[in-house]
């Protein structure tokens, strides 16, 4: 993995703000994310973290400031990014495999290649066996894995994840976190991960960006020093507990100030 210190910056937000009908939602966001970094945006509801993610994806225009992804505007950089939503956003009329093929299909890839890439992506998330199932036949955790497989099928360099595991039960969520960790370590994606769960953010991230609400602003950044190889056992270490406590305190301080 590339050393964060000398890495090429992949995503850069400078002075980014967002207003809805005169109400500021986000203000003065300055953020640089290097290639291969796993950065969580952590904050209470209403801090604009999802909005920020959608602005980086080019789905929502910024009211002020500038966002560059790999030196391009977000709209032009979409091919290197995949977005994973809070709900699985599967098309119920397509089988699992055809759902995973969607992105490649929209880009006009030939059928054989689509199928091959879809099956590869499904194998990554361990769902080869249900390729011909319809989404309604899957559990919540499986649906989310299909959603992740779909994002991976188009070979992204950047993953934008908007509270992808928020709707899952805690046990499933922990397992999904471990899987995501493993995949990210293997592929070296740049990940921006929006969450309101402190332990999830600590477990996954190399860096946590804390946001406060009304209007959304960056409160501070916490580097998570838990090493690159994180497993289930990482959660039991003292260092993990300590970081969770520290981040929680910082967030709470911002709430009551």
């Amino acid at each position: 993995m590339i050393d964060a210190g000398i890495a090429i910056s992949e995503i850069r937000c400078s002075g980014v703000g967002k207003q809805y009908g005169g109400n500021p939602v986000l203000q003065d966001i300055d953020l640089t994310i290097a290639k291969g970094e796993f950065v969580s945006l952590l904050g209470p509801s209403g801090c604009g973290k999802s909005t920020l993610l959608k602005m980086i994806a080019g789905l929502v225009p910024a009211s002020s400031g500038e966002i560059a992804v790999n030196g391009m505007t977000p709209g032009n950089a979409r091919e290197m990014m995949s977005f994973i939503f809070q709900d699985p956003t599967l098309l119920p009329w397509r089988t699992v495999q055809r759902n995973v093929e969607l992105g490649l299909e929209l880009e006009g890839a030939p059928r054989e290649r689509r199928k091959k890439k879809a099956m590869e992506a499904l194998a990554l998330v361990g769902l080869s066996a249900v390729a011909n199932f319809y989404p309604q036949d899957l559990s919540g955790g499986m649906k989310m894995r299909v959603s992740i497989a779909r994002a991976l099928a188009s070979r992204p360099q950047v993953l934008l994840m908007d509270e992808p595991f928020a709707a899952l039960d805690e046990i499933t969520r922990d397992r999904m976190n471990e899987e995501l960790m493993r995949l990210q370590q293997e592929h070296g994606w740049t990940v921006i991960f929006v969450t309101h769960s402190v332990s999830e953010a600590v477990f996954l991230s190399s860096r946590i960006v804390l946001l406060r609400a009304n209007p959304g602003r960056i409160l501070g950044t916490v580097a998570v020093d838990l090493g690159d190889r994180r497993t289930r056992e990482t959660r039991d270490t003292e260092k993990f507990e300590e970081t969770v406590t520290r981040v929680s305190k910082l967030l709470r301080g911002a709430q009551y100030e």
């Binding site: 994806a57 939503f85 956003t89 098309l91 309604q136």
Partner: protein, 263 residues
């Protein structure tokens, strides 16, 4: 598997009891045949005039099916336009409601006057009565797509036509079938209404509506009952077919259609 069977047997038993009571009333009170024919008399007229009865039924079925199919094609086309342009939708949507509230029986004579008697006007009346539910339901399905799904398509740089054909249209299928189911039931009513005014063009034989008018003028009450029965069965068959197609196309993926909902 057993429960629907028992329900069907119960329903048939109610039907048998009603037929029996009807026959009993006719016997006991000696009701003249032109006022109320007995079930046996209706059954015998069905047997003796079976082929003209079926012919009437088929004529009506043809006009009703024609009107329904046309309304599906035209209704989907209008809905696609409405889905693409909120401006046109706001401007024209109230008129589709008018289409539903205008008393069809009152404009049928106008259609007869403009189009002339025959299957053309009958089909047109069925078409008009079927159109509004198709437009309303399909439009609803086309425009009520989750925002995140649109975002998903945009992330893959999908074109507007890709979003329409691969997202909005399949998303609207359950709604479209609800519209078809509603319209299938009223298509037959529309065709019969049309025939009451315009069904006399064919020499010798007309559809159910025309025959109902004729039988009532001739005081052939037993045959009138047979015609009403045929019209009811025809409406039921249309509804059943629509429900079957809905199940056939949606049951694999649409949660509410996993089993054929018995009526």
């Amino acid at each position: 598997m057993k429960r629907p069977l028992i329900a069907a047997i119960n329903a048939l038993a109610v039907f048998a009891v009603m037929l029996f009571l009807w026959q009993l009333i006719v016997w006991l009170f000696r009701v003249p045949e032109f006022m109320l024919p007995s079930p046996l008399e209706v059954a015998s007229v069905i047997a003796s005039r079976f082929s003209p009865l079926v012919e009437s039924l088929l004529i009506t079925a043809e006009a009703a099916a024609g009107g329904l199919v046309l309304s599906i094609v035209a209704g989907m086309a209008v809905a696609l336009v409405f889905a693409q342009s909120p401006w046109l939708r706001r401007m024209l949507y109230p008129y589709t409601i008018l289409l539903q509230t205008v008393p069809i029986i009152a404009i049928a004579p106008l259609i007869l006057m403009w189009v002339g008697p025959g299957i053309g006007s009958v089909t047109l009346v069925a078409f008009i009565i079927c159109l509004a539910p198709i437009i309303a339901n399909t439009t609803q399905g086309l425009i009520s797509v989750e925002e995140n799904l649109i975002h998903l398509f945009l992330m893959h740089n999908a074109s507007p036509s890709q979003i329409l054909l691969r997202l909005r249209l399949p998303n609207a299928m359950p709604n479209l079938f609800v519209g078809i189911r509603i319209s299938a039931g009223i298509a037959v009513i529309g065709a019969i209404t049309g025939e009451l005014f315009a069904g006399s063009s064919r020499v010798g034989q007309g559809g159910l509506g025309y025959s109902i008018l004729y039988a009532s003028a001739q005081l052939q009450t037993d045959y009138l009952f047979a015609l009403v029965l045929a019209a009811t069965i025809l409406g039921f068959v249309f509804f059943f077919l629509a429900t079957f197609f809905e199940w056939y196309f949606l049951h694999r993926w649409h949660a509410s259609k996993r089993q054929l909902e018995a009526l």
